[in-house]
């Protein structure tokens, strides 16, 4: 054994395998049972004849170890941590545990593998192959005894933990190993002599066949247990959660298992319906969180629960209702019934988390913002009010702190900053009303919550709106002419390619020539827009309705990504100063002044669904400055905690984060300087994290560990917070350098100089301005 251990180690170091199981730990008692017939095995080499144990290597996992001569191949695989599908558990009937013996001498592993090194296929296995096509070298692992060294390939369809690729910018494999498992059993029907209860006989059989001792039964299943067992002619497939609780019983043989991964956001609820055997996403459904009707931001939801007797019940009912409808929608799309969904994993910020679990969120609304529970919560789905399989289980990921919730734990699971190399610093920014930050690497991870305010979601912005059809989401401003082109959500082409002339009046059916009717002919001759006296672009015939038939989407407002781009572009064009003022020296028909405050037109009335110009105002700029300074200073304080002054990777997470352009965000100073190619958007990471936890039960434990391991920092209480915040208000920052933006920033400064714009306000200029005005 010792000698083999050494050989094994050297073989492993050669092939670079990740996994070493010490031989004394590698086997369970069953696999270590002395060989039933030690003199029979065919050895790969003459000298090997009659050995007590043989080497077995499993591909593609690379896991390997020793198996006692005569031991069962399926048992050997399991004892090595190689999970092979086996619903019938060794009865040689389900055919799920198919493996292939690779033949030949494998230098990498130092062994000769041969089909003869397994006991012959006979009995039930032979009958199985008579009825099913048999690829070369295929065996049913449960029917084989080990009689020599082996290299075994486990085909994808037999792997109990399948590798799937996550649909995201950062593709990575999720090992499919869900919390629920299916077990097929056949039990004896009751007789006049044997009157043991149906469940008891089922439990006894599960214990006998699968070693599932002390299983609990969700009592609700008793309501239908007897008809199900009879319908299946005493054959049934039992769904077991975490090997401890029976959550579903189906008649006969079944292999379908479905689960839901849910992200409850403040504004959006999204879910994935997954096949728990393959890990595939079968359907995705999302909608606005109906709680929005009771309050836009988190604190107003907390207030609603706090000040109304039925507040919590109302908000909880609203979101549960949405979840049930979404589940039905997703199930219908996937062609399954909601009753077939037996597992659900949910993430959300702490307020969503508390409301979901019927916990009054009051404490989250005031310092010190303590949550009721930090650890993960397992609860019956029906207790939450969810209508899935009657015994379905719900798992809610843990939370990190009062304002860093299960959604952030989901982000960690999905983006794995805790696996970042020790010499790299990752910064993950989840932009929302409450910005959440993660900073660190495999050695340490810090998290913080940053009160960015709702400006990035379009609130507190004159023409701000949510990311919906018609929202300006992209903005480009020519730095010389200050001409604007933009893109709205729901329309592919940029605004400068919009064909205005092809519109048709919806009442008369006549084509409306917008250029001739509604606009001065030359764009460049557009009048200066005065907010006090906006030009009205009336149709030439007063009675004509302005709504055209098949009206293309026009600009309705500006969403978060749009306002970020607009302000960054104005800064680059030299129209905005670093301290956030509109430069009085800039000349453009789009720029107008009301006293000392300015407005810049992004969309002219004819480009807007409101028929009124869509503008960026001085106050909008100030509000964005406040929000971005909160994010930046939060990141900076975490960097100070970690003792670093640079970040190597920035991930912009969150549904909104996916639409932020990295360059514009950095120009604004939302995020610290970083190689722009290392700034990526990662989509709805929180939802991906929920999916990972749904598909892999170990990841649920990992999430619990990570939630405790991550250091939460209350940045607002850091003594330097105010200074860091104030320093971060200018664009991109008053002190910190942005070497990766050198060219852009120099060009912007050059344009300001060319326009005669002074970067700071001084008393002298102020006096000059006043003198000029009077």
């Amino acid at each position: 054994m010792k000698q083999w251990g050494r050989k094994l180690q050297s073989a492993l170091s050669q092939c670079g395998a990740q996994f070493v199981i010490p031989s004394h730990l590698a086997y369970n008692r069953r696999a270590m049972t002395p060989p039933s017939n030690p003199h029979q095995p065919t050895a790969s080499r003459p000298s090997d004849e009659g050995r007590a144990a043989y080497r077995v290597v499993f591909q593609p996992s690379g896991r390997q170890g020793e198996a006692a001569a005569g031991s069962n191949l399926l048992d050997a695989a399991r004892s090595l941590g190689v999970e092979i599908e086996a619903i019938c558990n060794g009865r040689q009937t389900c055919g799920k545990c198919q493996v292939t013996v690779e033949e030949g001498f494998f230098a990498k592993h130092g062994l000769t593998s041969d089909a003869e090194h397994l006991s012959a296929a006979d009995g039930r296995e032979a009958r199985y192959w008579d009825q099913h096509p048999r690829p070369a070298g295929r065996r049913l692992a449960c029917a084989c005894q080990v009689r020599g060294d082996l290299l075994i390939s486990v085909p994808a369809e037999s792997q109990a933990r399948k590798q799937v690729v996550r649909k995201a910018v950062t593709e990575r494999a999720i090992v499919v190993d869900p919390a629920i498992r299916l077990y097929y059993v056949e039990i004896e029907p009751p007789t006049l002599e044997n009157q043991l209860g149906d469940w008891d006989r089922l439990a006894a059989e599960l214990a006998r066949r699968f070693g599932l001792q002390g299983l609990r039964l969700d009592p609700i299943l008793l309501h239908t247990l007897q008809p199900i067992l009879r319908e299946g002619n005493w054959k049934a497939t039992v769904t077991v959660w975490q090997d401890c609780e029976v959550v579903r019983v189906q008649p006969g043989y079944a292999e379908e298992a479905y689960g839901l991964a849910v992200d409850i956001g403040t504004t959006t609820v999204a879910m994935h319906l997954c096949d728990l055997r393959t890990g595939a996403v079968l359907a995705t459904a999302s909608r606005m969180n109906p709680q929005v009707a009771y309050g836009e931001d988190l604190m107003s939801r907390v207030s609603y629960c706090d000040t109304r007797e039925d507040g919590l019940a109302t908000l909880r009912g609203a979101v549960i209702n949405a979840l049930n409808e979404l589940a039905a929608e997703a199930a219908a799309e996937a062609g399954v019934t909601p009753e077939a969904i037996s597992d659900i994993v949910l993430v959300g910020n702490t307020v969503m988390h508390h409301i979901l679990l019927n916990i009054p969120p009051r404490q989250l609304g005031q310092s010190p913002f303590g949550p009721a529970v930090s650890d993960a919560v397992d609860i019956q789905a029906r207790e939450l009010g969810l209508r899935l399989a009657p015994g379905a289980q719900a798992h809610v990921l843990p939370v990190e702190a009062g304002h860093v919730g299960a959604d952030n734990v989901g982000v960690i699971l999905a983006e794995e900053p805790h696996r970042a190399p020790a010499d790299e610093i990752w910064l993950i920014v989840d932009v929302g009303t409450n910005g959440e930050l993660l900073l660190g690497n495999r050695e340490r991870l810090f998290s913080a919550s940053s009160p960015t305010g709702p400006a990035f979601e379009g609130a507190q912005i004159r023409h701000g709106m949510r990311a919906a059809a018609g929202a300006i989401e992209r903005v480009r401003i020519d730095p010389e002419t200050l001409e604007v082109r933009f893109k709205v959500i729901g329309r592919e082409e940029w605004s400068n390619e919009w064909e205005m002339g092809k519109l048709v009046d919806w009442e008369t059916g006549k084509s409306v020539d917008w250029e001739a009717d509604r606009l001065p002919t030359q764009r460049t001759n557009l009048p200066t827009y005065h907010p006090t006296n906006p030009p009205t672009y009336q149709s030439t015939s007063p009675g004509q309705k302005a709504r055209p038939r098949d009206a293309p989407i026009l600009a309705a407002g500006i969403c978060g990504s749009g306002i970020i781009e607009a302000i960054a572009e104005l800064f680059v064009a030299g129209v905005l100063t670093p301290d956030g003022r509109f430069a009085a020296e800039a000349r453009s028909p789009r720029l107008s002044w009301q006293g000392s405050k300015a407005e810049f037109v992004l969309a002219w009335p004819h480009e807007a669904s409101t028929g009124r110009p869509i503008v960026v105002t001085s106050d909008d700029v100030r509000n964005i400055q406040l929000g971005k300074a909160a994010l930046y200073s939060g990141a900076r304080l975490l960097m100070a905690r970690m003792g670093v002054d640079r970040v190597d990777r920035v991930l912009l997470a969150g549904a909104f984060g996916s639409y932020i352009d990295a360059t514009h965000a950095m120009i604004l100073g939302m995020i610290p300087d970083c190689d722009l190619t290392k700034v990526t958007t990662v989509g709805n990471s929180a939802g991906d994290g929920a999916r990972i936890a749904l598909l892999n039960k170990q990841q649920r434990e990992e999430a619990r560990r990570l939630a405790r391991w991550t250091n939460y920092i209350g940045v607002a209480m850091e003594p330097r917070f105010q200074d860091a915040f104030v320093e971060a208000l200018p664009m991109p920052h008053s002190v910190d350098a942005f070497p990766h933006l050198t060219e852009i920033l120099q060009a912007a400064a050059g344009r300001r100089r060319a326009r005669g714009v002074s970067d700071t306000v001084s008393a002298r200029e102020r006096r000059a301005r006043l003198a000029k005005a009077s």
């Binding site: 604190m299 009051r362 609304g365 301290d579 006293g595 607002a716 104030v726 306000v761 001084s762 002298r764």
Partner: protein, 229 residues
């Protein structure tokens, strides 16, 4: 700095108005050393501390406050100016106490219990100081007892409360209720502010005024205290 030096040479024919205007400019530009020097110079010329405060510092901060309200200056510039003012006040405060000079008012200010946001509140505190108020900034997460004790201790006639969360702003009503109970409500004017508030809320809870920003906070404090005296 140089302009002040020149005036120094001119002896008796000091143009005080020009000196105070230069101090105001230095304050506007946030040049602490110059503001401190200007204050010392004026004292050396025998100017009364109360005049230096009013004509140099308070007048300067008024300009800063106005331009902040107009969106020309932003938080960093106002804080710089306020810090310069603070440094000058270190010199003037003991002299003002000695001479028993009248104050614009005595203010107690804090962010209410449960809330830890205080940058905006600090801005108001500094602007009030700039306007000549004696300001006692109690910080954040301040409960009613602490407000009451501070009002009693300092004989305050102005109370400022800030809240940035919809969940914490109702506590302002609790504090006002306590003022009534303690018989202090008639002695202090109550000003409230913070992002989720509005004038209607201020009225509902029985505050004297809602202020949307620091500039408004100064104007309101002055108006209310003036009306009182």
């Amino acid at each position: 700095m140089t302009t002040i030096g020149m005036r120094e040479l001119s002896g008796d024919t000091v143009d005080l108005q020009a000196h105070y205007e230069a101090m105001q400019d230095d304050l506007y530009d946030g040049v602490t050393a110059a503001v401190v020097e200007g204050t010392r110079q004026a004292l050396a010329w025998g100017q009364a501390p109360v005049d230096i405060l009013a004509r140099g510092l308070v007048a300067g901060m008024d300009i800063v406050g106005k331009d902040f309200g107009d969106g020309i200056l932003f938080v960093p510039e106002v804080l710089r100016a306020a810090n310069a003012m603070k440094a000058a006040m270190e010199i003037l405060r003991p002299l003002l106490t000695q001479t028993g000079a009248p104050k614009a008012g005595i203010a107690v200010i804090g962010t209410v219990k449960g809330d830890i946001h205080d940058i905006g509140k600090n801005l108001v505190a500094m602007m009030w100081e700039g306007a000549g108020f004696e300001v006692h900034n109690l910080g954040n997460n301040v409960d009613a007892d602490k407000f009451i004790a501070a009002i009693r201790e300092h004989h305050a006639n102005l109370l400022g409360m800030s809240a940035l969360l919809t969940t914490t702003m109702p506590y302002m009503a609790t504090v006002i209720e306590r003022l009534h109970q303690e018989g202090l409500r008639d002695h202090v004017k109550v000003l409230v502010g913070g992002a989720p508030l509005n004038a209607a809320f201020a009225e509902d809870i029985g505050a004297d005024r809602y202020c949307k920003d620091a500039a408004e906070g100064v104007a309101a404090a002055r108006a209310l205290i003036r009306r009182e005296t």
